[in-house]
Symmetry: C2
Subunit: 501 residues, 2 copies
Amino acid sequence: MILIQIHRDVSTPIYRQIIDSIIKLIEEGSIRVGDPLPPTRILAQQLGIDRSTVYRAYQELYSMGYVESVPGSYTRVRKRPKIALLKDRYKGALVWKEKSASRSDLIYQTYLHYTPEYDSSKDDSEVINLSQLDLDAHLFPLDDFKRSMSQAFDLQGEKLLCYGSGRGYQPLRETIANRLRMHGIAVIPNEILITNGAQQALELILKLFTEPGDKVVVESPTYANLLPLLRFYLVDVDEIPMREDGMDLDLLEQSLDSRTASFLYTIPNFQNPTGISTSQGHRERLLSLCEKHDVPIVEDGFEEEMKYFGKVVLPIMSMDERKIVLYVGTFSKVLFPGIRIGWIAADEECIERLTAIKRFSDISTSHVVQVAMYHFLQMGYYDLNLRHLHRVFRKRMQIAIQAMESYFPARISWTRPMGGYTIWVRMLFRVNESLLKETTSNRGVLVSPGSYYFNTGDRGDYFRISIASLEEDEIREGIHRLGLALKDLQEIMECLESKEG
Amino acid sequence: MILIQIHRDVSTPIYRQIIDSIIKLIEEGSIRVGDPLPPTRILAQQLGIDRSTVYRAYQELYSMGYVESVPGSYTRVRKRPKIALLKDRYKGALVWKEKSASRSDLIYQTYLHYTPEYDSSKDDSEVINLSQLDLDAHLFPLDDFKRSMSQAFDLQGEKLLCYGSGRGYQPLRETIANRLRMHGIAVIPNEILITNGAQQALELILKLFTEPGDKVVVESPTYANLLPLLRFYLVDVDEIPMREDGMDLDLLEQSLDSRTASFLYTIPNFQNPTGISTSQGHRERLLSLCEKHDVPIVEDGFEEEMKYFGKVVLPIMSMDERKIVLYVGTFSKVLFPGIRIGWIAADEECIERLTAIKRFSDISTSHVVQVAMYHFLQMGYYDLNLRHLHRVFRKRMQIAIQAMESYFPARISWTRPMGGYTIWVRMLFRVNESLLKETTSNRGVLVSPGSYYFNTGDRGDYFRISIASLEEDEIREGIHRLGLALKDLQEIMECLESKEG
């Protein structure tokens, strides 16, 4: 007789519990090849369950090759081919490792370097996370999104679960085109490709434009997650330093004069990490420089709609008559990151090429989620939510800036963003990143070290603050702690210097 | 006075209609810079709506830079910076085109060649589509999935909309690991990475293993969507011909003896396109050949669970003690393609590297959908559905094979699959692909031409039939039409040959 325990208080169906138990008994060797399983009637009685449940489990075991049955006889354990069991795991050199390409190694090293910021499983509630750029989940319009999802099911039926169009759900593209028109960008729905978030949009653009050795121009510092991609695609990264009003255009001109580029990447609003928004004049000159040198502009409008101080400056693409701008957008930073919906707006034929590239990357973006998102926008929830976020973050950003003024020691400077979530801080004294990490960690606060945002060079004198995920009190307390950490750091540095001196 | 029309019977909110109308009037030049907008009170009266609605529209127009307001005065149209309007679209040479990399051109050409098969918008109900590999949507367990989605919202709350873990939702990975165990593959959840469908899984693996010029071994014919990816990654593709029991292992041995490979790609069950399933013996020899040559095996189990005839043969990975197998799975072919969930099972550290690569491709797979999928599996809906599909397709495949026997002319041979949806047909007479397309199209039936599945060479004598999306009567009628088309084709070829002769 074999021993099987059934639990009625778990969600695993009973027939599945029987299957799992029998497989375990076989794999342990408690039941051997040729041994009969108990007749379904007997096992059903023994377990106090319906016979059909046992029958179903046996059928499944049969189809998995564990048992065989001869008409009129017992179901017996079958001789299965050699199976590699967990306990026999191979300990020798692994082939996949030898075969890994060096550029994939390189991306892995970057990943390990970044990981702490992203590992939300290590959610230590004692530490205040001024590093995370994910929106405070309390601000998610969850019920509205649930309603939108429900509507998607009701209106679309089975179609909801088919592949959608490779370019993305047509009504969603229409809605996005309408929103972009509000920002002065005149596009039609066929000039939009829906992507798996802005990150995928950037990779598709890299695939469209670059061959190994090509030059790509970025702001310095720039979006941290772009840098490993640039390294993976083996391009030459030309970093143009950020000034108070965006990238240094004189240096850009020199750079383009000396060698053209596959594209230029810029974040004109609330640049990540600096928080800087460029002026109308800066945007005009940047556009005309790129027009003159025939360099496509990739304009990342990841927080386009998060302007809550001052007047709006329109996107570069709003002035783009020669269609050299590819505009990247996302809902991740004003709604919820978990849905993974971004887009590229560009010339229609260019979008068609990008669609082809996406097709062989992942066929299409999850249709279910796109349809839900469309209803969410259509019912006006997005606008409501955006206005709410503006109110909330206008206040939170003010609190952050005030707290920095109160709590930060001397010889620290920082940017004053017109919107978005990030502030860029510079320490005007000699320091290194590991000491910064140590002092902040000791004071129970987490920031993003400057090195994440530079392709080359040791820039330990910068760090980024993000207020995206924190409430007012947490922001105040976090910055208080940060101020203490910076004082600690200054003392340590002075001490070190006096020793050296 | 300005003219605005409001429609109450559409889903666009009224304030948005006002915004759209005013932007249109401004862009047309009907209202000019400096012109006042009507006071909110007046416009509200005129339109018979609430004043707050007009106010909201004006606020939005302000934030978009279209209007400005001075306290105590009218809201006036503002001088906006130069805007590129749709009507002024540039007609000159486009920079993005000049800058496109040649390998992205190449992928675009392949895309155009494939497109007819995938363009579901051109859904001509007169034509019977024996080309599509998407499951018949009538078989989708829509209500069950809707319930699963609902449960995901109820149980997870706001967390549902956050980024999930880069590796994928832990409970879903556990469930998949359990399912793989049922197929003799002993993996733990951390040995699984959730991807955006199987297509993304394949690209991640290419990124992990290959540099330009590396060799990759595939079956010939093979999965059509892999070939453009291989071309994009600039690898040398070594095509090993398929025999009745899978790829020719003698030729494989010669190939590996002459030069090792970055990896070998195989679909052991119901191979796409041939429908062939390899024997236990073939799998064992394939594994030992790759072990001997240190070549990772990428085993595509895209229809692992769609075996509905005969006994199960276990996956190659079930015998893999040296961890040289990376197993790719998907829910697209047994559930619904629109959710985009696939996975890779491999050595834990290998999965971590692949997670790093995915991180910079698209951060993570849509969390919402993963959680819903987990509940779907957990509640037993998946198993129920699978059993149902087996019953349905056992019958449909029998019908297809019988119909081929009845309706096909002589000099045609085809495979007899043990499961899945595809049948591979060979015409044992000289023929070319465009003639095949013409005769099938004239008879109102669509098949997938052989050339999709070969990397090189003109293989106009093959085509693939898929019964995935069709009901019994459609299968019978489709194959009837196909039989007529093949007779037409034979006659045309005979006529051509006699002329030549």
